[in-house]
Symmetry: C2
Subunit: 336 residues, 2 copies
DNA sequence: TTGTAAGCGTTATCAG
DNA sequence: CTGATAACGCTTACAA
C-alpha cells in the first residue's frame, strides 16, 4: 500500500457548509431532526467535496456495523455460489453488506473466520459449511453476534438454524423409484459427513427399509462431479447392478450419469434411474434433465435476513426452522 | 437487531493484566517491542476475557482497514464463482478480508458498490464486471483507494487493469477450425457487449478474414446456457449451416452443444466443431469435453494481490497487464 | 433546531 | 520497554 488515503471528513463538510459537524452527522442519520435549509447546504457541500460517511467510525459509536459475515467453503460449486449470490442480494436490499470468508484451506478455518467476524464487529455471521467449535460460537453469542447456521442440523440456544426436510425428500425418492419399477436401490455420496448428506442417506435407507428393500451405500472422496464418476465406476461394475441411484447432490448425480452413459453405455432412465439434490442449474441442462429436489434458496435467504432485522421469533428460539425441498420432476426417472 | 453487543476492549484486558492499554496494543501489533513477560500476561488476560482487536477502530487510526471490496455481477456463474473463490483465498492468505458487493440488480449499481467501498474505507476495490462512471472511479483514486479492473479493457491512470489476449486466442481457434477442415465459421455471443466478449468477436472475425473466410455473427440475450441454446436454434436452421462455432463463453458453448446434439441430432465434432472460452468445470465433463481457453484465474488473483501489497509496478502504470489464455484441447474440435 | 462536548476502541508519539 | 496523551471520524446527550 502506497496510497496516501486522504478521505474527506464530516468536519470538512461542516466547515464548507458553515455549520457544526453534528449538523452534518444528523443530515446523514435517517430520522434525525435538521432544518431543510441546513440539510440542503450540508448535502451540497458533501457532494462538492465527495464526502462519504465513514462506516467504521459510525460502527464504533452505534455498535452496529451493518456487516454480515458469510462463512463458506466450496464457494466454486453451483449450489453454494447461487446461495451466496441470493444472500448478498437480500442483504444489500436492506442496506447490509456481506463480508466473505472462504474456509476451503483448513478445517479449523471456520473458527478463524468467526474470529475475523468478531474483529470487524460483524452484526452477524452466517455459516454455510463446516462446524465451528462451541467455544467460539459461545463467544459470538456472548458478544451479541447473531449466528445463523444453514443446513447444519444443530440448534444451540441463541443461534438460528435453517434445515431442509431431507428425510421427507428421501421418502419421496423411494416412492418414485418404486413406481418406476426399480428394485435394486443405491445411495451415492461423498465422505464429507455433512449433516444434510447424512440426513439424506439415513432417510433413504430407512424409507427403503420400510418397503422391504435394502440399499447399497457407496461413498467416495469430496462431494462433486468426480466423486460421482468414481461412484458409478464402483456401483455399476457390481454383479447385481443397481437400477436406481439416489445421489447426495446434483454434482454427484451429473458425474454418475455421465459415467453411466459414456463409460457403461447405459440408458438413463431406461436401464437406470437417477435422482439428485439441490436443483443446480446444470440439472436442467439437456444433457442431464435430472430429477432432483430444489433447495428453497430464496426462502433461506429471506428468512435469514428477516431474522437479522427483527430478531429471532420465539418459536424458533430452541428448534431450527425446517423448510421443504420441492421435487423437480425431469427425465432421469422413468414414468413421470 | 436486539442484541446487546458488549465486546471486550483493550482497556479491560489491560486492567486484568495489570498493564497499560498501550502494552495491550503493542502485544497485538506485529513487530512492536514488548517484554516477553508482559506479552505473556496480556495474552493470558486476552484469552480469558475473549478479547479480539477491534479492526474498525484500528482501521480508523492506521488508515488501512484490510478490507478489499469485490464488485461482481453474475456471481452464480461457474467462472465468476471460481474467480471469487480464488481471490478470497489469495486475499486471506495475506491477511486481507473480502467484502462482496453484488451488482446484478441495476446498471448504476457498480457506482453504488464503489460508494459502499468508500464508506467502509476499503483499501482497494476489485471490479470484475460492469463499468463505473469515471467520476466515481476518480473519487476512489483521489481518496487513495486502489482500483483493479479485471477483463475490462480500459486503463486509466491510477488503476490497475488485467486483461487476456482474447485476440490471440481467437486466432488460435481459427487455425484449429481450419485444420479440422471447417469452412463455414460462426461466432455465438450474447448481447452483453462486455469488453472481453467484443475482443473475442473482433479477433475471430479478423483472423478468419485474414484466411479469406467470412464469419456469421449471431448474438442473443444474456450470457449463459440458455443463450447458447437459442443461438444454436438460429444458426443451425440456416441453409448453409456453419460447421464450426466459436462461442464467447463456455456456458454459451454448453447450451449450443446440447441443442446441436439433442435438438438437431448433430454429431460434435463430426458434423460441427465447437470451441468455448473460460474453461469452467463443466467444460471437462464427459457430456461436453469442450475445447476451450483457460482463464489464468490463479495468476489473475496473484497479480492483483501482489499489486495491492507492493503497489503498482512502474511498467503497468499506464498500460493494463495482458495475460495469456491457454488453449485446452478436448474433443469438441476434430483432429487434435 | 442547533452547537458543544464527551466518548467509542484503537494506534502513534513521546517522555521516562 | 513502558505508560500517559493525543489523535482518528463519528454519534449523541445536553444545553442553548
Amino acid at each position: 500500500m502506497v496510497s496516501p488515503k486522504i478521505f474527506v471528513s464530516a468536519q470538512a463538510v461542516a466547515d464548507r457548509a458553515g455549520v457544526s459537524r453534528s449538523a452534518v452527522s444528523r443530515t446523514f442519520t435517517p430520522g434525525a431532526s435538521v432544518a431543510p435549509e441546513t440539510r440542503r447546504r450540508v448535502l451540497e457541500a458533501a457532494e462538492a467535496l465527495g464526502y462519504h460517511v465513514n462506516h467504521l467510525a459510525r460502527g464504533l459509536m452505534r455498535n452496529e456495523t451493518g456487516i454480515i459475515c458469510l462463512i463458506v467453503s466450496d464457494l466454486g460449486s453451483p449450489y453454494r455460489a447461487n446461495l451466496i449470490k441470493t444472500l448478498t442480494d437480500e442483504l444489500q436490499a436492506v442496506g447490509k453488506i456481506a463480508m466473505l470468508v472462504n474456509t476451503d484451506r483448513s478445517d479449523d478455518s471456520v473458527d478463524a473466520a468467526l474470529r475475523q467476524a468478531i474483529r470487524y464487529r460483524a452484526d452477524a455471521s452466517i455459516i454455510l459449511s463446516g462446524m465451528p467449535d462451541t467455544s467460539i460460537t459461545d463467544l459470538c453469542v456472548k458478544n451479541g453476534q447473531a449466528l445463523i447456521l444453514i443446513n447444519r442440523d444443530d440448534s444451540r440456544p441463541g443461534q438460528f438454524g435453517i434445515n431442509l426436510d431431507d428425510g421427507e425428500a428421501a421418502r419421496t425418492v423411494v416412492t418414485a423409484f418404486l413406481r418406476a419399477g426399480c428394485r435394486r436401490l443405491a445411495f451415492a455420496t461423498s465422505e464429507a459427513g455433512t449433516p444434510s448428506l447424512i440426513a439424506r442417506e439415513n432417510g433413504f435407507v430407512r424409507a427403503a427399509g420400510e418397503q422391504g428393500l435394502e440399499v447399497i451405500v457407496e461413498r467416495h472422496g469430496r462431494t462433486g462431479y468426480d466423486a460421482g464418476r468414481m461412484l458409478a465406476q464402483r456401483l455399476l461394475m457390481r454383479r447385481e447392478r443397481p437400477d436406481a441411484v439416489f445421489c447426495a447432490t446434483d454434482l454427484i448425480a451429473c458425474g454418475f450419469m455421465d459415467a453411466a452413459r459414456h463409460q457403461f453405455s447405459l440408458d438413463v432412465p431406461k436401464d437406470l434411474c437417477i435422482a439428485g439434490f439441490d436443483d443446480i442449474e446444470q440439472a436442467s441442462w439437456l444433457s442431464y434433465e435430472l430429477t432432483t429436489f430444489a433447495q428453497p434458496v430464496q426462502e433461506i435467504a429471506r428468512k435469514s435476513v428477516s431474522w437479522l432485522l427483527a430478531g429471532m421469533p420465539a418459536e424458533q428460539a430452541q428448534n431450527p426452522l425446517t423448510l421443504h425441498a420441492e421435487l423437480v420432476w425431469r427425465r432421469s426417472i422413468r414414468g413421470g
